[in-house]
């Protein structure tokens, strides 16, 4: 309570209902703060920033060595054209530029392009004169006079809606243009459309609203209009019209730009120009390179209170680690850590200790300003680090902190957003807008691009960088902070590592290249790629193409899912079994794009059922799809979707062949990123047409695509089974055993991989000839042997050359499911390995039996049994009782300091307890289980975890699989450990038993009973071999932890429960102590 009060005293909270109870002193303080907030910032922000300037001079000189290179004279004198690679495009509302646009006045949208020149200068280019607009179709018979009257009426209505705006003219002008609706095949090439140009981007929406609802026009009556392209974001509109794609190079020619009188940004070059003077360069040759952006990777540490996750209103920020890397270099040029209170130096790192939190925060702000990063990366920075810093500064009343963007006078604000997309689901997030800098949160990128069992930085880096990250529990962080300069140094090293990992992930996964290329291919700004769904990318391409063709896109209102669903891709019935003959796989190469190209499926080639009757098109000119739609062939009208696809595919071919020739690794990275982006883009076009809540859904297209797909799979099956028969002169009858969306699995019956490959190639070629180009069936691989479980679930060895298999390929089989324990994964992988690679089915069965026996005999490594779930809400908020929530509650009662909090992941094991106890009551903390020898419940693991996945694998192979595996003699012997914490054990008397036969012995000096004498050598060997195994394990485990920690002389304090060896090393420690005692009994 005490801390809460103090926090409130310093917080600039508006005096609300607490007023009565809070003392007067606090009120005054609050008021004063408000005074600062209201006036100082707005009038003289600069001086505020400079407030503690003198004190910070030392810091400033420290930071200035990292500043960007100084401008050359030709830049200073404006005698040089400015070439820069843009990274971020947004707009602001400002007064229109008097010199550039002498005719207009009042507020207007000014586009801001932020970028970097090849010398590494930061650029802010303000583009004037680009106006927001959209289209409506021109009513029949509307002449020029009618248009001006319509203009007046619309202006009047707009004035009513936007009462507060100071705009002199809302609807700037209305032009008559000739365009054509993209929807449906039309014989006429163009129709009159009205292009309505408005003053400000936001007015597009309000104007659309007016037109949607209907407007009274003299001579035409009440009329409502369908709008076209009114849902295009202004920045994207600008990019499309100026042919700018995300991340490309822009030239502002010398003489065409003006230097801003008063710089509004912190960029080195700030220029004003007209949109028509910009030159956008296609990303080819010299312009496909990357500018040397500055990438800042950072991480913060907060000192949380015991038992609570850090909250910005209470818990101080104690360290911020920063690494700045120039794009294209492999080492950061700034390694810095800012700490609260003294910190011992770290080699190669610039350690900046400060006495107050305020200084830390302000120093960080100064670092951002001085280093001027173009891209800010980190792990979970969008949801945690950035909002935390800003909210913390708010709590401390540091009004001048959040000036982190590139615009002077503009403070960073936090707002809550939800992002939802059919593909990625709904995610709550916080949006922190840092103007002019791209934020790239690796966590978001990971969640988007990879399906992983856990997204903790630890497991992500284990997955991609194959190294474990040391994890320091947040309860230890406070202790380290409250220690001395040495312990804080320890923390700083940890913090730096956390800041470095995102950068390494970025490099390893080529994120910069891939995302910039994706932006270039699809034409959207880079920031869209992370913050928006798939459809904007297709929309951007569609709009660009439509613009070339004089087509416009209607703004279809989202109708939700009621528009119905269509039949998806079916799969051929899987003939489950274990195939010990080679299975050839015939794949359609990018099936859906090729169908769309082959049958010219597009918005503009679709013929409405009415038109089919009316237009009387000859059957040679149209295709009737299996789902019953009609599309015209390309001789009448070439579709623009097929055209986009053709371009994407040929661009990919080009990129791939360039990639082969490329020598320079950076160039290779760019090209590889590009071909990947092109592939993804080509595949997402189909999805765009099927997204019912999307921008321009057209189920006629998507259902036609899938119906063709189904037809082709069936067709292939038929041809294969008809041609490859003994009657047809082949050795065996071919059989199609399974067919998925775009592949067909064929058993030709031949015994060797080579023969199957030959037949596969022959079949692919033969069948391809029956399809329209570019649909092509390819032979790619052979599975041998092949275990087909059911549809979408199979495993097999993957062969692309007849001499050696490439890998083991599995699909849909438990390997990375979150709610399974590791044992399942290990068992499944090992069994598949034994069955497929070693071809040893009895061995696999024996392995399963041994594992089950180990489980029942309590010999299983505990870490394999740990199940982990994220705690997202507190207990009361869950409707159904869940094991991990119950456990978290119980742990809180035991020790609130170490109990998991909301947001943590809770690991647990299921323990034995009273009969009839629910599973959620039987969850227990694995550490507690280890410490107290609590018996786990093998039956639970047997029945609820391992039985289903195992039976799935073995059922096609074994008769009576369940009986054989789960009920044999190996399940009869069980061992249960005695808990050391239960009441009854207090009354039990411990007596020694003979090591050989477990008979009790009275004499404590002895090891064996009289009966077992003579077997000493053998029994000793047994004991000692156990110890020896444990010793070896102990050494390997603990030295690995030292390795991860990066220090030999300091104790390991990592508590990463995500790490696979965390419990194991603890258990090894404990087992070792016990085994040693047992062995010591021999030394009589």
């Amino acid at each position: 309570m005490n801390s809460r009060k103090r926090a409130q005293a310093t917080a600039p909270l508006p005096p609300s209902k607490h007023q009565a109870s809070t003392p007067a002193v606090e009120e005054e303080f609050v008021d004063e703060d408000f005074f600062l907030d209201e006036t100082l910032i707005q009038e003289d922000e600069e001086s505020l920033i400079l407030r503690d300037f003198e004190e910070r001079q030392a810091l400033a000189s420290c930071l200035s060595k990292w500043a960007r290179p100084p401008l050359s004279p030709s830049y200073v004198s404006l005698s040089q054209s400015v070439f820069f690679q843009q990274l971020e495009i947004d707009y602001v509302i400002g007064e229109s530029h008097k010199e550039l646009l002498p005719t207009s006045s009042g507020p207007a949208a000014i586009i801001r392009i932020f970028g970097v020149t090849k010398e590494g200068h930061s650029v802010c280019c303000k583009v004037h004169g680009f106006e927001p607009y959209f289209y409506i179709s021109c009513p029949l018979g509307m002449g020029l006079d009618d248009i001006s009257r319509f203009h007046q009426i619309l202006e009047g209505r707009m004035r009513e809606v936007n009462r507060n705006s100071k705009v002199p003219k809302h609807v700037r002008r209305i032009e008559m243009v000739h365009r054509r609706n993209i929807m449906y095949y039309q014989q006429q090439t163009s129709h009159p459309f009205l292009k309505i140009v408005v003053a400000l981007p936001t007015m597009v929406t309000s104007c659309r609203g007016i037109l949607d609802r209907g407007i009274q026009i003299d001579g035409f009556g009440m009329k409502s209009f369908m709008t076209y392209e009114s849902n295009v974001l202004f920045a994207l509109r600008f990019m499309i019209d100026c042919n700018i794609v995300g991340g490309n190079w822009i030239e502002v020619p010398a003489g065409k730009y003006k230097k801003t009188a008063k710089n509004l940004s912190y960029c080195q070059l700030e220029v004003d120009c007209l949109f028509s003077d910009l030159i956008s360069h296609a990303p080819e040759g010299e312009f496909s390179k990357m500018a040397p952006f500055r990438i800042l990777s950072f991480d913060i540490e907060c000192a949380g209170r015991k038992g609570h996750f850090p909250e910005p209103t209470h818990d101080p920020v104690i360290q911020v680690a920063n690494l700045v890397t120039l794009q294209g270099e492999d080492q950061p040029f700034v390694r810095n850590v800012m700490t609260l209170k003294s910190c011992s130096p770290i080699v190669g790192v610039d350690v900046m200790p400060f006495n107050t939190e305020r200084e830390v925060l302000l120093a960080w702000r100064d670092l951002i300003r001085e280093v001027d990063p173009d891209i800010i990366i980190g792990y979970n920075i969008c949801k945690f680090d950035l909002p935390y810093l800003i909210e913390r500064a708010q709590t401390l009343g540091i009004a001048e902190f959040p000036i982190l963007g590139r615009i002077r006078n503009s403070r960073v604000r936090v707002k809550d957003t939800t992002f939802s997309s059919r593909q990625y689901g709904t995610r709550e997030s916080k949006e922190v807008t840092v103007e002019g800098r791209v934020q790239f949160d690796l966590l978001q990128a990971m969640q988007r691009d990879y399906k992983l069992s856990s997204y903790s930085l630890n497991s992500v880096s284990a997955h991609f960088l194959s190294e474990q990250k040391e994890d320091v529990h947040h309860s230890i962080i406070s202790d380290l902070q409250n220690g001395n300069a040495e312990t804080r140094r320890r923390l700083a090293v940890y913090c730096l590592k956390d800041a470095y990992l995102p950068q390494r992930l970025l490099d390893k996964l080529m994120y910069i290249y891939n995302y910039v290329e994706m932006a270039r291919v699809t034409g959207v700004p880079i920031s869209f790629l992370l913050s928006r769904g798939q459809s904007i990318k297709v929309l951007s391409q569609l709009l660009r193409k439509a613009k070339q063709k004089g087509l416009v896109l209607p703004n279809v209102k989202a109708t939700g899912s009621e528009q119905g669903t269509y039949e998806g891709a079916t799969v051929l019935e899987a003939k489950a079994g274990f195939y010990e003959k080679p299975i050839a796989t015939l794949d359609f190469a990018s099936l859906y794009p090729s169908i769309m190209m082959a049958y010219n499926l597009c918005y503009c080639t679709l013929v409405t059922p009415e038109d089919v009757r009316k237009l009387n098109l000859s059957p040679e000119c149209v295709n009737k799809t299996p789902s019953g739609e009609t599309f015209v062939k390309s001789n009448l009208q070439k579709g623009i979707l097929p055209e986009i696809l053709e371009e994407l595919i040929s661009a990919r071919k080009r990129a791939k062949s360039d990639l082969k020739e490329a020598k320079d690794p950076l160039e290779k990275a760019v090209l590889d990123g590009r071909q990947l982006a092109l592939k993804i883009s080509a595949n997402s076009v189909y999805g765009f047409t099927g997204a019912t809540v999307g921008q321009l859904p057209c189920l006629e297209i998507s259902s036609s695509v899938t119906s063709y797909g189904r037809q082709m799979i069936e067709h292939t099956k038929k041809l294969v089974e008809d041609k490859f028969t003994t009657i047809g002169g082949y050795e065996y009858n071919a059989e199609v055993i399974y067919g998925d969306t775009d592949s067909v699995m064929v058993q030709f019956g031949v015994p060797t991989v080579e023969a199957a490959m030959d037949l596969g190639r022959e079949a692919a070629e033969y069948i391809s000839r029956t399809f329209i180009k570019p649909i092509k069936l390819e032979f790619e691989k052979v599975y041998y042997p092949y275990l087909l479980i059911s549809k979408k679930r199979y495993a097999g060895l993957y062969w692309t050359n007849p001499n050696k298999f490439d890998k083991m390929d599995t699909k849909g089989i438990e390997t990375v499911r979150r709610d399974n324990c590791l044992l399942v994964k290990n068992l499944v992988t090992e069994c598949l390995h034994k069955i497929l690679i070693d071809r040893d089915i009895p061995g696999a069965v024996q392995y399963v039996k041994n594992s089950i026996s180990d489980l029942l005999m309590n010999r299983m490594d505990l870490s394999l049994l740990v199940i982990t779930k994220g705690l997202t809400k507190t207990g009361e908020d869950y409707e159904v009782k869940a094991a991990h929530v119950e456990l978290a509650e119980r742990m809180r009662k035991r020790d609130p300091a170490t109990a998991p909090n909301v947001g943590d992941r809770v690991p647990y094991v299921i323990i034995k307890s009273a009969k009839g106890a629910k599973a959620y009551e039987r969850s227990e903390d694995p550490i507690y289980v280890l410490d107290n020898n609590i018996p786990i419940d093998p039956q639970y693991y047997l029945e609820n975890q391992i039985s289903k996945p195992l039976l799935r694998i073995f059922e096609p192979i074994l008769k009576n699989a369940s009986k054989e595996l789960l009920q044999g003699s190996h399940t009869r012997s069980i061992s249960i450990s005695t808990p050391s914490n239960s009441g009854i054990m207090k009354f039990a008397k411990k007596r020694l038993s003979c090591i050989g036969c477990k008979a009790l012995i009275n004499n404590t000096e002895q090891t064996l009973c009289s009966h077992c004498k003579g077997r000493e050598a053998e029994l000793y060997c047994k004991s000692v071999s156990q110890v020896s195994e444990l010793e070896s394990l102990f050494g390997r485990l603990w030295t690995q932890c030292q390795e991860c920690q990066g220090s030999l002389h300091q104790d390991v304090l990592c508590t990463s429960r995500d790490c696979p060896i965390f419990y194991r090393r603890k258990k090894a420690q404990k087992d070792m102590a016990e085994a040693k005692c047992q062995l010591d009994r021999w030394n009589f």
């Binding site: 090293v493 890998k807 041994n850 603990w1038 030999l1048 002389h1049 102590a1073």
Partner: protein, 439 residues
């Protein structure tokens, strides 16, 4: 001893003192301690030593801690080396996503061109760069002094390198010595498919003087000590899978040990013998390996000439200091570094003054809390390692006149070779019992 009618051969005697206490683990228990302590103890001891050497090495240079490094300033730092190795196997590999189908390319050596050295003291670590040091010759765990300067990017550019060098040695008593022999044998592997019982019996008969003519028996009488350096038996550990053993398997397990006991009893009746545990013996795994339990040797343990020793093993015989291992230390060095021959590895450990620098990093070892028993404080006169591919020997000289006989003792089961050392002049030769098996 067989009594001859004409001459009565008397076996020679030697004084013997075991120095194994420091390798004994008695009171120590596992109670959660980690490996940082042993590194700390090592660094502490070695640093004191190196600091005392620095004034003679580079008197003009300041000595810094790693934390105290200043950019561009030349200085000397002392710390523990850590070799970052790309190919080093890790226990985490067991958990890697995809089980690799092909096994490691070179499982016997993990040296890679990209390996780099890092120097660490309790204050921090710094990467060592420069062309002077070749990482392939060094391993994790060595303590050394480095002269160079901080390049500013977190690297330390090495200009010179100082190892502790051979430890001081008690001078060898040269006067009035006679021929006395110490026999070394290792890798008897009783019970393995490659071991030949006949060879071992010949060895026993030779040592006990039951073989050859009078002259040979005279030589045999000069053998004063036998050292069995590890891997004396091969036990089918595959039988121990946690399940209860069938009676048949029980005996299979203890059979080799019984056989060994019988042979050792014959020897112990004649001359003193030291038996050291090795990696395959029924002993613990981590170094220092504790003496093989006497319950394994009901026959030979009855003699006071039979000594079950630790591995590593250290003793003084007639004022000559012997130090040796069953081979794990050198084998591990071979995996993680490179040298021309095994003797070079041995020589390095002496120069580093550490018997097993890779322990605990890659070589299992007990987590000592207050000491590092593997530090070599006093230079041995004879330094042997068991279970090597072939017999090799060399006499090396230290800068202060130290003289050390290095011996690689070959595996006896491979070709029946034992090594004989003459304590008079530290000369060394082999005894070969190779037999042709007619099979």
């Amino acid at each position: 001893m067989e009594i001859d009618s004409e001459r009565n051969l008397q076996r020679k005697q030697a004084t013997y003192q075991s120095l194994d206490e420091s390798f004994m683990i008695q009171k120590e228990v596992y109670k959660g301690q980690q490996y940082s302590h042993i590194y700390f103890a090592r660094l502490h001891f070695m640093r004191t030593l190196l600091y005392s050497l620095v004034p003679n090495w580079k008197p003009h240079l300041p000595v810094c801690t790693i934390l105290g490094l200043e950019e561009g300033k030349e200085c000397i730092i002392v710390g523990t080396l850590f070799k970052h190795m790309k190919l080093k196997p890790s226990i985490l590999d067991e958990y890697s996503k995809e089980r690799s189908v092909t096994s490691l390319v070179k499982p016997h050596n993990f040296v890679h061109i990209d390996d780099c050295l890092i120097l660490e003291d309790e204050s921090g670590r710094v990467k060592l760069t420069g062309t002077l040091l070749s990482p392939s010759a060094y391993v994790t765990g060595i303590v050394a002094a480095v002269h160079g300067k901080d390049s500013g990017a977190g690297d330390f550019v090495v200009q010179d390198f100082l190892e502790a060098g051979l430890p001081p040695q008690v001078e060898l008593p040269l006067k009035s010595r006679e021929d006395k022999y110490v026999v070394f044998v290792s890798g008897l592997s009783v019970g393995s498919s490659t071991s030949n019982p006949l060879q071992f019996q010949l060895l026993v008969d030779h040592i006990t003087g039951h073989l050859g003519d009078e002259k040979e028996q005279g030589i045999a009488a000069q053998i004063v000590h036998l050292v069995v350096a590890g891997n004396s038996v091969e036990i089918p550990y595959g039988l121990l899978n946690g399940q209860n053993l069938a009676a048949k398997d029980q005996s299979r397990l203890s059979e080799p040990i019984k056989e060994l006991d019988i042979l050792l009893t014959q020897i112990a009746a004649g001359i003193p013998l030291d038996i050291m545990p090795g990696p395959n013996d029924p002993a613990n795994f981590a170094l220092p390996q504790q003496p093989l339990n006497r319950c394994l040797f009901p026959g030979s343990a009855a003699y006071n000439t039979f000594r079950s020793c630790t591995n590593p093993h250290c003793f003084v015989l007639d004022n000559i200091r012997f130090l040796g291992t069953s081979g794990q230390n050198v084998d591990d060095l071979e995996k993680y570094s490179e040298a021309n021959d095994k003797l070079e590895f041995m020589e390095r450990t002496l120069r580093w003054r550490h018997l097993a620098p890779t322990a605990p990093n890659t070589l299992g070892c007990y987590p000592f809390t207050d000491r590092d028993p593997f530090l070599i404080e006093s230079c041995p006169h004879v330094y042997f390692v068991g279970n090597q591919e072939k017999f090799q020997t060399r006499l090396i000289k230290g800068s202060e006149g130290q003289l050390v006989r290095l011996i690689c003792v070959p595996k006896f089961c491979d070709n029946g070779v034992a090594v004989v050392l003459n304590t008079k002049n530290l000369e060394c030769h082999t005894l070969s019992f190779a037999t042709q098996l007619s099979s």
